[in-house]
């Protein structure tokens, strides 16, 4: 388990990184926290000619608020999403979901941008990005481009990122104060790849009914899935156990993952509705807490 030979570059600025990416394109890969890339290199599943290590680029490691946007640099370590006060205040779903990423050691190395670029359908950050209507910011030779998260994830571990581009940040809309969030993930062991997971953010109107519902679901398909059918089934409805359970069933047709060692297709179909139901239920409970000021 040793990587094949590669050329190693460690640029100190985004410009330099983009220049290297422009030069080497798909022959190069970006190394951030290395939590997925290094095993792939060591097992020789990835064989880049050039490895561009972005860990020295300070500009990628910022967390900032702009108006109603929380911008997180691609090089920010995942644990910061759990620890950073601004993140907890502005987008409280993120710290909760981040706690499910592997183990604490992985989160101290793994980066936000790395998880998004790796685009594993079982991963927490792609799933939450889709649920939160986040925007992915990339830079290429011709400048900055923004891509909606739901367009960014295009297929099994493939994204809208072009070979000459570098993912530089992700922008999350600030979650409204009254909204409730929930994140539920089922894995065989603590820290394992999700068998299925769901992220939900809900708003309830004066009448107590759903005014908005956003749900992202992980590990049921090639990409994280936005559960639109579930959402529309709930808008205007009261957040009752039955309504939520019935709406959660709407996720089932989106489950395309085939049988694997850890879960059958049938199990995932069932589990998808379970995690969606539980995530929405948790979000509703939080929305009620917020309204009641608890």
């Amino acid at each position: 388990m040793k990587p094949p030979p590669f050329t190693y570059c460690d640029p100190e600025s985004v410009d330099e990184a983009v220049a290297l990416k422009s030069e080497y394109g798909s022959d190069s890969l970006v190394l951030a926290g290395g939590q997925s890339l290094l095993p792939m290199l060591n097992m020789r599943l990835a064989r880049p000619e050039v490895l561009i290590d972005i860990n020295k680029i300070g500009d990628l490691q910022r967390i900032e608020r702009w108006d109603d946007i929380l911008e997180v640099g691609a090089g920010v370590r995942q644990y910061e999403l759990e620890d950073h006060q601004l993140v907890g205040e502005l987008v409280p779903l993120l710290p909760e979901a981040t706690g499910y990423i592997g183990h604490i050691e992985c989160r101290h190395r793994g980066t936000v941008g790395g998880s998004l670029a790796h685009a594993h359908s079982a991963a927490e950050l792609p799933c939450t990005a889709v649920a939160l209507d986040a925007t992915v910011v990339v830079r290429g030779p011709s400048g900055i481009r923004t891509i909606e998260a739901r367009d960014f994830f295009q297929g099994r571990m493939t994204t809208a990122l072009e070979p000459e581009e570098v993912l530089v940040a992700v922008r999350y809309p600030v979650t409204p104060q009254a909204a409730g969030h929930g994140f539920v993930e089922v894995a065989r062991r603590a820290g394992d790849f999700a068998l299925a997971g769901a992220a939900a953010v809900v708003n309830l109107g004066e009448d107590g009914c759903f005014t908005s519902v956003s749900v992202g679901v992980s590990s049921i398909s090639d990409t994280p899935v936005r559960a639109s059918a579930v959402e529309s089934a709930l808008i205007g409805e009261a957040p009752t156990e039955n309504n939520i359970a019935r709406a959660a069933e709407e996720i089932v047709p989106s489950v395309t993952a085939a049988d694997d060692l850890h879960a059958t297709h049938d199990y995932r179909r069932h589990l998808a509705s379970v995690v969606v139901r539980r995530a929405i239920t948790a979000a509703v409970a939080r929305a009620h807490e917020r309204r009641n000021g608890t």
């Binding site: 388990m1 040793k2 990587p3 094949p4 030979p5 095993p39 097992m43 020789r44 089922v186 065989r188 062991r189 603590a190 820290g191 394992d192 790849f193 068998l195 060692l261 850890h262 879960a263 059958t264 049938d266 199990y267 069932h270 589990l271 379970v274």
Partner: protein, 801 residues
């Protein structure tokens, strides 16, 4: 009997150096000029190797040599093998590959990176053959053959019957039966197997290795390498875990030795995780059972009828020793006398079985306990009741079981009572009912017992074979105790015993007991094979018992010498002296005496002050033979006494299963073990904790899976799931001590019981949690998808009603 040191909880003497990273593991060993080897693993399950083209690899700067099965065939004898001689194997596949991951070629290079680059450049021409993956289909005449020379994919087939099983079933009020599958898992230690070999002085090949009970097996490695056994020195290196898998991981040192001889330089071969998971030669049992058990209405077991197909994989290095092992406790702790046991060992395109904590007994115990639980449920008896009414009673020992093995001692009701005293089952059963009714939550309670045979005798390896090639009967252990001129102790062990267990703590504790010295003061060393006395090493939960016997034997000789010197010096009769707290003193006048340091100085430096005829120095060795082995009957009617040092355990599990996700979580876990006299409750507790956690792994998580095309699906820790501290329950451990009448101090082995009983207890708890849905764990590991499928089927059936 009370002891000053034995039985006291104390920290392990091994820990300080391990905790500061000074374990001295094989991957840290660097020899001048050392090369590294990497292996090309077969990507196909079954194929003839037409050719291996190494031209490009050999052109790569830094690559020194490429060796293949052709080289093995030309220059080696087949590897050690206790299975049929018609199923030969080599460190690199010869002519055919028989599973995904089998080693095809080795590349030797200046470093491991270059060696793997070289592997990438090898071109192998495979003529693929039909994969043989299903053991049932493998037995059909139309199946492709793994070993043409063997002529069949059945490696072994035989039926043993003790008593009259038909009569036992005819007299039963209830016969339960089940179809059960115990899936493949393995020891999977944190440190893989590795070896560094170097051609040394005087034509001696030296192999440093973290595996292999070399005192027992190294002459077989020499035979494979075609060198005289006195020209091979195996040097033990501590290992980061074995769990059985390092007992005889012989191909790694054989390959390192072969490569070093070919290139004339030191060569390191350390398995990486991919190598270890797919090619360790130590996958665990993979058994399919049709099993029946008879009961009378009062719960008394009348008999057991087992038909087992064991998927051995591509080779059978230990023959069917795993079933011989199960015969050591074939009736468990129960009194029934009638047993039929049919074995078919089947060859398939999978990594072969080796040793894993339990060595087959753990599987048998799971089957036994699954049947007992089914009987209890159908007879309306609580799990503790049905067991209690079948237990062999404390006054029945020594007790000979069907098949001939003997149980030395035990008090099974006491173990059950102790376990029940540690947990309030009535409270839990009430809580179970309340949670189900009020909150819709499902908790389950499982209770299981096991025998824990310990101290294997070598007859186990061949007693089931009609014409055994190597019907050995010895499995000794040796120790050398030296008191140096200042009275400090050296303990020399004669095997590879540092495998993550506690050989040094055990040794130091026994020496402390014998001489009254602080255990931490003892320095423990390991002999290499050129210096080692007869030893067998850890395996079959034998080491603590055997090394304690050896150390006590050597200590007796040393104590006599010390007392004789003191008697001579003090002009007292030896029988009036005693050794207390590192000092020999006059029994009736303890103020008169000599310290060990004073006596040692005399022994080493004052020969003229020694008793007449005594020679200088203070060093004694002792070889302790297996305390109780008898010969098997040649006709298979009786295996003799081969595993008589018999422990016992009872586990009680409370867990909750989420019926919507199928995820279990533990609420309480009580484990009570009787391993005879305890040397150190802390290290025995570690064995119970680790063993039970591995049992939970086999039950819920771990799976070495092959798909129907023979592709291996568990080649990384992403897919091979070992329970961690997050999954393991907070075990509450209790002990009962029924000393063995046959061993020194009455110690019994305690290394495997946790894994032998946990699968049965956890399976029972899952059944109990989901009883209303008809849940019955019949296939391990039981996965969330299996549980949810049962719950959903149960719910739709309810809906239909």
């Amino acid at each position: 009997m009370t002891y000053a040191y034995i039985g006291k909880d104390r920290r392990r003497v091994e820990d300080p150096r391990l905790l500061v990273g000074r374990g001295g593991y094989i991957a840290d060993l660097r020899l001048p000029g050392m090369l590294h080897a990497a292996i090309l693993r077969s990507p196909v399950p079954h194929a003839r190797i037409r050719s291996v083209d190494a031209t490009e690899a050999l052109r790569l700067p830094g690559v020194v040599a490429v060796l293949t099965g052709e080289d093995c065939k030309a220059k080696l004898n087949p590897c050690m093998n206790f299975g049929p001689a018609t199923i030969a194997q080599y460190p690199l596949a010869v002519d055919k590959v028989r599973y995904v991951g089998e080693a095809v070629a080795a590349v030797v290079a200046e470093n491991r990176y270059l060696a793997e680059d070289g592997v990438d450049l090898l071109e192998v021409d495979y003529e693929t053959l039909p994969p043989v993956t299903d053991p049932m289909a493998a037995m059909e005449p139309e199946s492709a053959l793994l070993h043409e020379e063997h002529g069949s994919n059945i490696g072994y087939e035989r039926t043993f019957e003790f008593g009259d099983v038909n009569a036992a079933f005819a007299g039963a009020d209830l016969v339960v039966e089940d179809t059960l599958h115990w899936g493949r898992s393995a020891g999977v230690p944190m440190e893989t197997t590795g070896a560094v070999a170097q051609p040394g002085f005087n034509g001696v090949l030296e192999i440093y290795c973290n595996s292999l009970n070399f005192s027992y097996f190294s002459f077989l490695i020499a035979a494979t390498l075609r060198i005289p056994s006195n020209k091979l020195t195996m040097k033990p290196v501590p290992a980061g875990g074995s769990f059985g898998s390092k007992l005889a991981a012989h191909k790694v040192p054989t390959l390192a030795g072969f490569l070093a001889l070919q290139v004339g330089r030191p060569v390191s071969y350390v398995e990486d995780r991919l190598d270890n998971l797919m090619n360790s030669d130590h996958h665990g049992c993979d058994r399919f059972y049709e099993a029946r058990m008879g009961f009378r209405a009062d719960g008394t077991i009348t008999g057991l009828d087992i038909d087992v197909v064991d998927d051995y994989g591509a080779y059978m290095q230990f023959g069917v020793g795993h079933h011989g092992n199960a015969f050591s406790q074939v009736v468990g702790p129960y009194r029934f006398r009638d047993v039929r046991y049919r074995i078919r060992a089947v060859l398939t395109d999978k990594c072969q079985q080796g040793a894993y904590r339990g060595f087959g007994s753990e599987v048998h115990n799971w089957v036994l306990e699954r049947l007992v639980d089914q009987g209890a449920a159908r007879l309306g008896l609580a799990p503790e009741e049905i067991r209690r009414c079948n237990f062999i009673q404390p006054d029945q020992f020594p007790y000979t079981i069907p098949g001939g093995n003997l149980y030395d001692s035990g008090d099974y009701p006491a173990v059950l009572d102790k376990a029940l005293s540690m947990i309030d089952l009535n409270k839990w059963r009430a809580e179970q009912k309340r949670l189900r009714e009020e909150e819709g939550r499902h908790i389950g309670i499982g209770l299981a017992t096991t025998q824990e045979r310990s101290v294997f005798s070598s007859t186990e390896f061949w007693s089931m074979v009609e014409k055994p090639v190597l019907p050995v009967t010895s499995s000794p252990e040796s120790a050398t105790v030296t008191i140096d001129p200042t009275g400090q102790f050296q303990l020399l062990l004669h095997c590879q015993s540092m495998w993550g267990n506690s050989p040094e703590t055990v040794g130091a504790t026994v020496l402390a007991e014998e001489f009254g010295i602080p255990p931490e003061s003892v320095n423990v060393r390991y002999a290499d094979s050129a210096h080692a006395l007869p030893s067998t090493g850890p395996g079959g939960s034998r080491y603590t018992v055997m090394v304690a016997g050896a150390i006590r034997g050597a200590s007796r000789k040393l104590r006599k010498k010390l007392i004789d010197i003191a008697a001579h010096t003090l002009e007292e009769a030896p029988e009036d002296l005693e050794l207390v707290d590192a000092r020999v003193q006059v029994r009736d006048a303890p103020e008169t005496g000599l310290t060990l340091a004073e006596l040692a100085a005399t022994a080493y430096f004052f020969a003229l002050s020694l008793p007449e005829g005594m020679t200088s120095g203070l060093e004694e060795s002792y070889t302790y033979d297996h305390p109780y082995t008898t010969l098997p009957a040649p006709d298979g009617s009786d295996f003799g006494v081969f595993y008589p040092i018999m422990g016992h355990a009872c586990h009680i599990v409370v867990l909750e299963v989420d019926p919507d996700t199928g995820i279990p979580s533990f609420l309480d876990y009580v484990a009570v073990h009787d391993a005879g006299t305890i040397v150190n409750p802390r290290s025995l507790g570690g064995h119970v904790t680790g063993g039970a956690t591995q049992g939970i792994g086999t039950t819920l998580y771990e799976e070495l899976a092959y798909d129907e095309d023979g592709q291996f699906q568990s080649s990384t820790f992403r897919d091979y799931l070992i329970p961690t501290a997050n999954e393991a329950p907070a075990f509450r451990i209790g002990h009962v001590q029924t000393p063995s009448p046959f061993t020194e101090y009455g110690i019994k082995g305690g290394g495997e019981g946790g894994r032998m009983v946990a699968p049965a207890a956890v399976s029972a708890a899952i059944d109990d949690a989901l009883r209303e849905y008809g849940m019955r764990v019949r296939r391990l590991p039981v996965k969330p998808a299996d549980i949810v499928a049962t719950v959903r089927a149960g719910r739709s059936a309810e809906g239909a009603v």
